[in-house]
């Protein structure tokens, strides 16, 4: 009893909310978001950036489950999708029924509906972690995606439900007809949600979620019900996923079955894991990289999904901490002031590794072209080089490149490993 009153008293003690070094990355991020559309002002760039922002919010929400609370969900698209569907209906009510609702507030309602469904489904799915939770999430995801096609009145069948975002009351003179206005609206919500999710991870429940992830039984012996902790994490995650759904509704003005199905749920798992589940910015990195890969790579090659699948499997196998983990590995050498030790082996490895990856890609592309291109179109263009995919010479060149660079990488690997070990220890080892 005594400690409780003391605790609440100390909460009121005046301290600055957040210190400058803590604030700096956020300020840089905000500045970056403000400046982005100045550099990339085409409609498609804005659309892609909006798409990225939405994916970031969704991935961060997903990581509240996977990274923070250790719950693997195969059906999280449901909460984003349902939030989005309700938002589209709200937009239509604004247009046709005269509901007064300024557009910028819409994502909040998306979050609210995401939360409601998270409460309903979480009430039975969060009883256990691990495989049982994963399987329930899969089942519920499939059920809701399937009913979205059956219940036409609400979900609009496979055509989905569309709306017009510009029909609401103007907010500060904006009617949100232009992509740019929508971009800034999305960016503001991105910053708000990211900050809220970051702060959530710093609250008692956020910390205890980590504890439950690491050791659910021990947490029980510290006074916390693991089920309740998971439930709260799940609801919070559902809320932010719903916000992402609201943003999606504003950006695309249409929600379809696609927003609910297993594919979308799988993609967000992929995005989050690719970025790195152990870090707050992991999902951000994952969302940025994935969106770019998906939009840019698919313009250049038909087999982009093959690369993506290979990248994902390689990440799980070799860098389970994701791309961010790969970067974070370098903090230790940097702190020790030994990052310079790595420079030389990195430089030596750079060319062979690049050549290795590019030549493997060239091998796949050429094989694919040789097999699937129309007759007569033997010429293909790869990295700006035009050659005949049916000819012997290109094949010989590519195979030699693959084998040669692969051999070099293997040769150089021990050197890198040694340098890496040295750079990670304070004292040079004997």
């Amino acid at each position: 009893m005594n400690t409780t009153t003391k605790a609440t008293a100390s909460q009121r003690s005046a301290t600055p909310l957040i210190s400058l070094p803590q604030l700096a990355p956020w300020l840089i991020a905000i500045l970056f978001l403000l400046l982005l559309p100045v550099i990339f002002n085409s409609g498609s760039a804005l659309t892609i950036m909006n798409q990225m922002a939405i994916t970031i919010v969704f991935a961060l929400a997903y990581n509240m489950l996977l990274g923070q609370a250790g719950m693997l969900s195969f059906g999280h698209a449901v909460y984003m999708g349902l939030g989005g569907f309700f938002c589209v209906h709200l937009m239509n009510m604004v247009e046709f029924d005269g509901l007064w609702l300024p557009l910028p507030l819409l994502p909040l309602f998306g979050g609210f509906f995401g939360l409601i469904f998270a409460i309903i489904i979480g009430s039975f799915s969060t009883r256990r972690a691990g495989t049982v939770f994963a399987m329930i999430s899969l089942g519920v995801g499939e059920l809701i995606a399937a009913s979205s096609i059956i219940i036409v009145a609400f979900f609009g069948g496979e055509e989905g439900i569309s709306a017009d975002r510009t029909m609401g009351p103007e907010t500060f003179g904006f009617d949100f007809a232009s992509q740019l206005e929508v971009y800034y609206l999305t960016a503001i919500w991105l910053v708000i949600s990211a900050a809220a999710m970051y702060l959530f991870s710093r609250t008692p429940i956020g910390r205890i979620a980590n504890a439950v992830r690491d050791n659910e039984e021990r947490a029980e012996f510290l006074g916390y019900s693991q089920r309740y902790v998971r439930m709260i994490s799940f609801c919070a995650s559902g809320f932010f996923a719903g916000i992402a759904g609201g943003l999606f509704a504003i950006n695309f003005e249409i929600l379809t079955e696609e927003n609910l199905n297993l594919g979308t749920s799988g993609v967000i798992l992929l995005v989050t894991f690719l970025g790195g589940v152990g870090f707050f910015i992991g999902p951000i990195v994952g969302a940025v990289v994935f969106t770019l890969l998906q939009t840019v790579l698919s313009q250049y090659t038909e087999i982009w999904q093959l690369y993506l699948g290979a990248l994902f499997v390689a990440t799980v196998m070799f860098f389970p901490a994701g791309l961010t983990g790969l970067l974070a590995m370098h903090i230790q050498p940097f702190k020790l002031g030994k990052s310079s030790l790595l420079l030389r082996p990195y430089m030596r490895m750079l060319v062979p590794i690049l050549v290795c990856f590019l030549s493997i890609a060239a091998l796949l592309e050429t094989a694919f072209h040789a097999r699937h291109a129309p007759i007569g179109e033997n010429e293909m263009n790869l990295f700006g080089i035009v050659f005949d995919s049916h000819g012997v010479l290109p094949w010989v060149v590519i195979v030699v490149l693959v084998l040669g660079s692969g051999f070099l990488v293997k040769r150089l690997a021990p050197e890198l490993k040694e340098a890496w070990d040295d750079a990670n220890y304070l004292e040079p080892r004997s």
Binding site: A7, A9, L199, P204, N210, R218, E220, F221, V229
Partner: protein, 252 residues
């Protein structure tokens, strides 16, 4: 006020057909340091798990300060002021030492499931955590990941987490298992220090530690107490010498 800290009445536990705990009666008074000893497989850990809610009770009752607690969830029992450690180290391996201790504090300091306060801004919480780190002499390892600590350090951290919440009943399951002599001495000092004025229940194999720490000893053999008394009397008890101490000396 007179109710004992822990009271067992006719406690039984079966797994399938095997009856592991066969009707235990025991009173542990407030402030008492009580050790439970017995040969391997006697049911000591099972008894711990029954009291702390990890296992369901087959028959009988468990009371804490006069209130029945059998078959409550572990977290419910913990909230009533009982905290335990584990025989196999049971910490949060991916979190820092500081965070491990802080997790032990959160509930009892009233933060519960709060998501509107930031832990880093709770000076009182940070101070308490630092105090405990000081107590278990781990201030220097504050920011290290718990999973990389040495075994002895992890055991100390385990005790730190257990006592952090300020529970008035502390249950330690073989706190010195697998430790060297100097490490054991350190842990014993630590236990004596941190359980000052509290009820302590411990399972232990090291007789030195038991006679050093315990006010009372209960001897558990095949799911039954064959003695429960002060160290001197237990040591003199013929049945104990035959069933337990005799066997123990053979082992040595």
């Amino acid at each position: 006020m007179s109710a004992p800290a822990i009271e067992l009445r006719g406690l039984k536990k079966s797994f399938g057909l095997a009856e592991i705990i066969r009707g235990l009666d025991l009173k542990i008074e407030k402030g008492e340091r009580h050790a439970i000893i017995g040969p391997n497989g006697a049911g000591k850990s099972t008894l711990f798990n029954l009291i702390t809610g990890r296992f369901h009770v087959t028959e009988g009752t468990i009371s804490m300060h006069g209130e029945r607690i059998e078959n409550l969830k572990p977290y419910q029992i913990n909230r009533r002021g009982l905290s335990r450690s584990f025989q196999i180290t049971n910490i949060f391996p991916k979190m820092t030492v500081f965070e491990n201790i802080r997790c032990g504090l959160l509930w009892t300091m009233g933060y519960k499931y709060s998501f509107w306060t930031l832990v880093s801004r709770q000076h009182h919480l940070t101070e308490r955590t630092e105090e405990i780190l000081e107590k278990i002499k781990m201030t220097e390892r504050r920011d290290d990941i718990a999973g990389v600590l040495t075994y002895a350090e992890q055991r100390a951290l385990e005790i730190g987490i257990t006592i952090a919440g300020g529970a008035d009943i502390i249950m330690l399951d073989e706190p010195t298992a697998g430790m060297s002599h100097s490490e054991t001495d350190h842990i014993v000092d630590l236990i004596r220090d941190v359980t000052e004025g509290k009820t302590l229940v411990m399972v232990e194999h090291d007789m030195g530690v038991i006679f050093d720490l315990a006010d009372k000893i209960s001897v558990l053999v095949y799911g039954e107490f064959i003695a429960s008394d002060t160290p001197e009397k237990v040591r003199a008890n013929a049945k104990v010498q035959e069933a337990y101490l005799g066997a123990a000396s053979e082992e040595d």
